[in-house]
């Protein structure tokens, strides 16, 4: 029996039983809609939380010189340690796939002077990518110029605390800041941001890394920050960085820090939670499935004579089986299609009611919902379909139709 005939015959059998058919389709659609909606909520909630954490640097791979022997303690370097050089930083940026951004960090404390005001400040030496990598923003002015790592330039950006304490309400842009005996022109003002990575992100001066390393007469960097394209690529990127640095330094005299471990277990927990919620919703699908079984059983009883006739004129048991399975699958898939519509509508409504929570329905969830609805029909249609196919033809025909 070809699939088109199967579909046509199954469709035809629904005529005249509209209320029963509609109720079954409705029940299935409610089940599918609730599964879809709760899956969307769960996934969106998970993505939302992860994204918030990502703001704290989940895609950030931090290279620290020295081997961290015990977690949490300061880096202790056994034996002679290679420093983390600008050359290392450049290599990592260029040769590790997945690294989309890099900011080297050198750090020092220096007296800073504007006019007659003087203050000891934290000076960061980095490049023009630091703002992006650390998700800092400019309030005014411009970023550091895009330079070679070894190239110096007497310009700086200042944080909001530095601005307030040294300039008050005056516009600092274009003013000169003296760091020791060096003069830097202030070109940009960094927007306020809270504590991050155990550092006050407002109280510092940012200058090109080449300037600071020359001033402090240092060869080694304090940190190298690597921005990885996506959370999923963190693990491979981490391994690549490790291999490359070991080959350059001949030993593992550095430490890699990520929030990967925390993030992935958090992701797992949220994922499981999301599945659990979807599972609860699936119970309503179970009820819908039983309704399908029930409706199909009634249909089989009502159509005994028809089944008997079909057998008498040459329908095999497997043909009868597939006819009734197709009917059940058609019922549930229709419910699935409507349910997907209801689910998407529900997501819209929740989005409208609670704008803070972004609800998006992943495409895979829609595909899964349709597949599940089809599967429910087949699963809960098996019993009635088997009963129909096993009906003895003589008995089925003996009733008057």
């Amino acid at each position: 029996m070809n699939p088109l005939d199967l579909l046509k015959m199954s469709l035809g059998s629904f005529s005249g039983h509209t209320l029963r058919v509609r109720l079954t389709v409705l029940a299935t659609s409610i089940g599918i809609a609730s599964v879809l909606l709760l899956t969307s909520l769960g996934q969106s909630g998970r993505d939302y939380v992860l994204q918030k954490f990502a703001g704290l640097g989940s895609n950030l791979l931090i290279v620290v010189p020295g081997k961290l022997e015990t977690s949490g303690g300061p880096p202790v370097a056994p034996g002679r340690t290679h420093e983390l050089s600008l050359d290392d930083a450049r290599h990592l940026r260029r040769n590790i796939p997945g690294v989309v951004d890099m900011a080297p960090i050198s750090i020092g404390t220096m007296p800073a002077r504007v006019g007659n005001k003087e203050r000891a400040l934290v000076i960061l030496g980095s490049n023009d990518r630091l703002l992006h990598v650390r998700q800092l923003e400019l309030v005014a002015g411009q970023n550091l110029p895009s330079l070679d790592l070894e190239q110096a330039s007497p310009v700086c950006l200042i944080g909001s605390t530095v601005h307030k304490e040294l300039f008050g309400n005056r516009n600092p842009l274009g003013q000169t800041l003296r760091l020791g005996e060096y003069r830097f022109r202030i070109v940009g003002l960094i927007a306020e941001k809270g504590q991050s990575l155990a550092m006050d992100m407002n109280d510092f001066v940012l200058i090109p890394v080449a300037n600071l390393m020359r001033i402090l007469n240092r060869k080694g960097l304090f940190r190298v920050l690597l921005s990885i394209r996506s959370f999923d690529e963190m693990r491979t990127a981490e391994e690549d960085v490790r291999k490359m640095l070991i080959s350059r330094h001949d030993k593992e005299d550095f430490t890699l820090i990520t929030q990967q471990a925390v993030m992935s277990s958090l992701g797992d927990i949220l994922n499981n939670l999301s599945w659990a919620i979807s599972g609860i919703a699936a119970i309503s699908l179970l009820a819908a499935g039983m309704l399908i079984t029930n409706v199909m059983l009634i249909t089989v009883v009502e159509r005994r004579a028809e089944i008997g006739l079909c057998k008498a004129i040459g329908a095999g048991n497997s043909q009868i089986l597939s006819l009734f399975l197709a009917e059940a699958a058609l019922l549930s898939t229709a419910g699935g299609v409507i349910g997907v519509g209801l689910g998407l509508l529900g997501a819209r409504i929740i989005q409208w009611l609670v704008p803070a929570l972004p609800v998006s329905t992943p495409v895979w969830a829609i595909e899964l919902a349709l597949a599940v609805s089809f599967g429910v029909g087949i699963l809960f249609g098996v019993l009635p379909a088997l009963r129909a196919s096993r009906l003895p033809p003589v008995e089925a025909l003996s009733r008057r139709a």
């Binding site: 005939d5 008997g308 006739l309 008498a312 040459g314 329908a315 048991n317 003589v394 139709a401």
Partner: protein, 224 residues
């Protein structure tokens, strides 16, 4: 064509064994028109079901088209019902939601005949039973006689070796019954093999053979 030898059929209800057929020998040659008569409980229906491969005898052999049916598996019986046997029932057994054409197409759907050919053959069959102007009517829009003619068209559409008609006029008024009877006779003249089951004495001599069944045995068999 059809040969039955020593066909017995017993039903067991609890401890009680009912002997519906007690050794039936019968030969139905191709192109014949046989009438099977007998009172209620004589085993007519059981014999018809066995001939139609809907039921299996307890013992004995049944040969149809040179095949020994009794030895075949169920899947082969399906093929015999599909291709070699045409059924006409007292209560028509049309599918009410389907048009006359769709009803006639039904056996061809199960046989896997392509849709375009199906429609052509169904309409031809309906024309051959005089229903060319009723092809799109549903059963509830047809008279009793017309319904039975749709059923006959359905039974003929696979060009079966034998047409088994179980009281085809039983539910019809005299005029409609006469119509259906004339159609069966015409089909016989065209060479179809027909077995008519009835308990209407007026139809006893309509065919060329009369078989009388009583208590599960053939009582008389006469050429008419």
């Amino acid at each position: 064509m059809i040969r039955l030898e020593g066909i017995r059929r017993e039903y067991r209800t609890g401890a009680l064994a009912v002997h519906a057929l007690r050794g039936v020998d019968l030969h139905i040659p191709p192109g014949s028109f046989s009438v099977l008569m007998g009172p209620s409980g004589s085993g007519k229906s059981t014999l018809l079901h066995i001939l139609g491969c809907l039921d299996r005898p307890t013992s004995g052999t049944y040969t149809l088209d040179g095949k020994e049916v009794t030895a075949l598996p169920d899947t082969e019986l399906v093929l015999l019902r599909r291709f070699s046997i045409g059924f006409v029932f007292q209560s028509f057994h049309l599918v009410p939601r389907m048009s006359a054409t769709a009803n006639v197409e039904l056996p061809m759907i199960f046989a896997g005949v392509p849709a375009s050919e199906r429609e052509r053959r169904a309409i031809e069959a309906l024309e051959s039973v005089g229903l060319a102007d009723r092809v799109l009517h549903r059963p509830d829009e047809l008279s009793g006689g017309e319904r039975q003619r749709v059923a006959i068209a359905r039974s003929l559409v696979m060009k079966p070796a034998v047409l088994l008609a179980d009281e085809p006029t039983g539910n019809l008024d005299t005029a409609s019954g006469e119509e259906v009877l004339q159609l069966l006779l015409e089909l016989h003249r065209q060479g179809n093999t027909i077995l008519l089951v009835t308990h209407d004495e007026r139809l006893a001599r309509i065919g060329d053979t009369l078989i009388r069944l009583r208590d599960g045995e053939i009582e008389t068999l006469e050429s008419t």
